[in-house]
Each structure stands twice: as C-alpha cells, then as structure tokens.
C-alpha cells in the first residue's frame, strides 16, 4: 500500500474511532453500509486537506468542479483514494 493511502486509511480510522472496524476500498462512505455520518465525512475530507498539504498539493473537495464529481468521489473509500491520487498527479 502506498504511503499516502496508508495515511488516508489512518485518518479514516481516527474519524471512525472504532478499531474493530476494518477499512477496505469497497467500504461505502455515504449511504447504505457506511459507518460514517455526514459530519464525519466532512472531518475526513478536512484531514485529507492536511495530508495533501504535507504531500505538496491542494486537495479540492469543495469547489463547484469537485461538487459535480461528488456522486462518484464519496461512493467508497477506494473512490476517494482514486480522486485523491488523481488530484495529486495532476498537480505534480
């Protein structure tokens, strides 16, 4: 697993605040089967802004452009990691 993916998983584990829950790429972030409520998803995204800043780029999840992608971006942990990676590559 890449370093930043590990960081994303670690942030997610912290937000979930329950070590019994095993995080997988397939885990939904919003809706059916999600272990997070909406405010926890907000907290996760803010934590990811900090992870991105440490990696030298800006993670955008609040602009209009990001909003139009939000249906796919927040569907699962894997989808969020994919979006994060895409933005990182685009800015490096």
């Amino acid at each position: 697993m890449s370093d930043f993916k590990e960081k994303i998983y670690a942030e997610l584990q912290e937000v979930i605040d329950n070590d019994d829950i095993v995080i997988t790429d397939e885990m939904p972030l919003i809706g059916d089967g999600s272990v997070l409520d909406s405010m926890k998803v907000v907290s996760l995204c803010i934590a990811l802004e900090d992870v991105a800043a440490d990696l030298g780029f800006e993670f955008d999840w609040t602009s209009n452009a990001a909003m139009s992608r939000s249906r796919s971006m927040f569907r699962s942990v894997g989808a969020l990691v994919e979006e994060f990676t895409k933005q990182m590559k685009a800015q490096q």
Binding site: P28, I30, S34, M39, I46, M67, R71, F74, R75
Partner: protein
C-alpha cells in the same frame, strides 16, 4: 368553544386510517388523544411550558394538551440539551416537561409580551433562532392566531415529517396534517437508507427536506434506482440549494416534482412557488405577505409575523418590514437567493452564529482570541472552522479543545478544523 383536541377528534371521527406512523406503529388520532402522558394538571393558562420531545405520540399528545390549556409552548429537542438552561431563561420558562416529569421553575417577573398574550387569553409558541447579537433569540408567536390559518381546509398527501420538533416547519407540517386528515410518517432515523425505506414501506408521496439531505442522497448512489415510485414531490428549504445538485436530481428523477420552500420563524409561514421544477427562482407570497427588494436584499412584511423577540429588540421597521438578510437576484416576480448578509453559519439547514461557538471556545482555559467561520462544502452545505490564539506561553491542544467543545455544543456547531495561530487584534470576541 371546543378545544383543539375536540376539534381534531371531530375531524378524525370517521377516518379509518392512521394520522401518524411512528416506529412502525400506526396511530389513529384517537390513540394520540388517549395517549398516556405525564400529568400536566398543574400547568395553567398563560404558563410558559418547555416541552422536550420529538414527533412521538407522547410529545404530540402533550403538545396538543398544552395548547388547549392556553399555555405558551416552547418545543425543544434532546439535540440542543447543552443550550436548554439558556433557552429556559431567554423564554422565561415556568414549567419544563421532559421524560414524563413536570418541573416548575419559580419566577417573580413576567415578560411584557407574555403578559400581553395572557391578557388576551391566547396560546403562544416560542421558537429559537439565530440573531446578530450572537445568542439564539426567543421568538414569540400568538399560537391562537397561528392556528386560524388551518380553518381553511387544504389538500394533503402522505408526508414524511423530516423536520425538527423545535422548528416552525416541523410544527406547521404536523398541524397541517392533523387539520387536513393527512398522514405523517416519522422516519426511524434521518439517514438516506432509513428515509428511503420509510418512503417505500409507507407509500410516502411527499418528502420535505434540505439540500444537504438531497446531496447525501445523490452521493449515496441511491438516485435514481432506489427512489420508490410512490414519491411524487420533494420540497427543499432552510438552506441554500445549489444549481448542480438540483439539475442532477431533476435529470435523474423526471417523474418527481421539486419545489423550494421559504420560511423564517420571525415571519410565520410564508408561501413560496418555484418558477419551475429545475429553477431556483421562486415567488414568495401568501395571504397577507408582501415583498420588496432594497439594495439586493429581500424584505418581507407578513400579517402572521411573530409578536416579538423576548430577548432582543424588534427586527421590524416602523412600517413592519423584516430584513431577511437574504441577497436576491430578481427576475420579474421571482427571486433567487444568492447569498446572505452576516455571519450565520448553516450546517445541513441548522443555523447558528459564529459568535455562539466563539463564546464557548473563549471559556476554555488559556484561550485568548477566537474566530469562527463557515466554510462551504458539498456534503453539509457549510461547516465551522475555528482559529484560536492562546495566551502567551500557553500551548494549544486541538484534541482537548475539540473535546471541550463537543461536550458543550451540538454536533452541527462543532468546528471541523481547529487551527492555532494569531487572530487579528481588535476582533470583537477578544476576552475582556
């Protein structure tokens, strides 16, 4: 003169369907009227009564009984329990009804607005709103006059009551359904899954909700495949909707109508009519409601407005106009809200002042200056972020401060990010 409960009993006497579906139980109006509740014999006309509850049979039954006593009701929920003591003082509450217990708070003075209602022997309703002074304002309505609007019968559909017990929209939906023989379905929880299964299981036709919920529903992947075909109308309000979300919804759900609602606790219920299902422009009006726009800001004058704030100056000008602080774009007789003046933060439809959070943070040991801002996001519309300057020589710990705030503020008011850096000197919330 018949009581409210008698009037409703008459309306419902030949109805062979439930008025409320709550936690899977179907309740006829007779069940509500017969519901065993706390003994409220000691409550008398003119008492200010805080009722802490939700849309459950006992709370609804108590609500009707308290109105019938000619009391002034303050509906509150568990979610705001950290603020209850403040609410009791601001609303001059005489009696608290909570979890089957009735407790009296001794008072020696009477608020002039309450005295006026008592003199007229009218029931009252007190709701809390945000305000520019920073603390929630106690908004007093003449409930006897408010109830008159229900004398005109209107059509109803099977509706989820998604709104809060302490919100004017929630109370209005409840009363509208009761007076018009509708059906209200109380969802088990306010998650997307729970709402969708409630709609499916109970043939719900109308979903009154917030843009935040609709954004969550879109992101969850439930649209369009898991939206039950019984759903005919989605109404949204209490916070600003964005066009991309509305466009996606309209495209994915072609057989569902979308309507924007507009209301402010200060004005009573104001009617809004969307220009089209995919348009954010709406016409604002209704009986006794007038509008005008001054410097792009919407002003409303309404006959059903509140009597006044109990803990602040009147917000109406000499001619009775109310400044909504909504910045609007005008197209003929339609308005579109494009922004808001002031510091109100709106998280998923729940509004509060930045200064409310700043005030609590300033109670934390070692905090010198605080600034809270609302930041837009695609999930909850906005969230709070906080910048804190600690006193010289004191180190800040975001986790500990976060825990302190979590113990004192409802979830939506808790800052999602806490930064320690200098806050501009001269900020109005500097600790004195």
């Amino acid at each position: 003169m018949s009581t409210l409960i008698q009037k409703l009993q008459q309306i419902w006497q030949n109805a062979d369907y439930p008025f409320l579906i709550h936690q899977g139980r179907e309740l006829r109006f007779t069940n509500i009227a017969d519901q065993k509740t706390a003994n409220i014999d000691e409550i008398k006309s003119g008492d200010v009564v805080a009722l802490i509850g939700d849309f459950d049979p006992e709370s609804i039954s108590l609500l009707l009984q308290i109105i019938d006593k000619g009391a002034i009701i303050v509906p509150l929920t568990e979610d705001t329990k950290g603020q209850h003591d403040y609410f009791f003082e601001a609303a001059c509450v005489d009696v608290v009804v909570h979890s089957g217990e009735v407790r009296r708070i001794p008072r020696t003075e009477t608020h002039p607005l309450v005295a006026k209602l008592r003199e007229q022997e009218h029931a009252g309703l007190i709701l809390f709103s945000t305000g520019t002074t920073g603390r929630p304002k106690a908004i007093l309505h003449d409930l006897t006059l408010f109830l008159k609007r229900f004398d005109t019968p209107r059509p109803t559909q099977r509706t989820i009551n998604f709104l809060l017990f302490d919100h004017i929209g929630g109370i209005n939906t409840l009363l509208h359904t009761l007076f018009n023989k509708g059906v209200v379905i109380a969802p088990e929880s306010r998650t997307v899954d729970s709402i969708l299964s409630t709609i499916r299981d109970y043939d719900v036709e109308v979903l009154p909700t917030t843009p935040t919920f609709l954004r969550m529903m879109l992101m969850s992947g439930a649209v369009p495949d898991r939206i039950p075909s019984c759903l005919k109308l989605i109404t949204y309000g209490t916070e600003r909707m964005d066009q991309p979300t509305l466009d996606q919804l309209c495209e994915l759900l072609p057989s569902v109508d979308f309507r924007q609602t507009f209301g402010m606790s200060e004005l009573g219920i104001v009617r809004a009519k969307s220009e089209a299902r995919d348009s954010l422009f709406m016409r604002i009006g209704g009986e006794g409601v007038e509008t005008k726009v001054v410097d792009d800001v919407l002003y409303i004058r309404s006959r059903t407005r509140m009597l006044g704030y109990m803990n602040a100056e009147s917000p109406f000008d000499e001619e009775g106009w109310y400044n909504t602080k909504d910045i609007v774009e005008v197209k003929g007789e339609f308005f579109r809200v494009t922004g808001r003046i002031g510091e109100v933060i709106n998280v998923g439809g729940l509004k509060f002042m930045a200064s409310e959070v700043e005030r609590v943070a300033l109670e934390y040991p070692g905090v010198s200056l605080v600034k809270v801002i609302g930041r837009p996001n695609p999930i909850s519309g906005q969230h709070a972020e906080m910048t804190v300057q600690m006193a010289e020589g004191v180190d800040g710990d975001a986790k500990l401060l976060g825990k302190f705030l979590a113990e004192r503020l409802p979830v939506h008011m808790q800052p999602r990010r806490i930064r320690f850096e200098s806050v501009a000197v001269g900020h109005r919330f500097k600790r004195s």
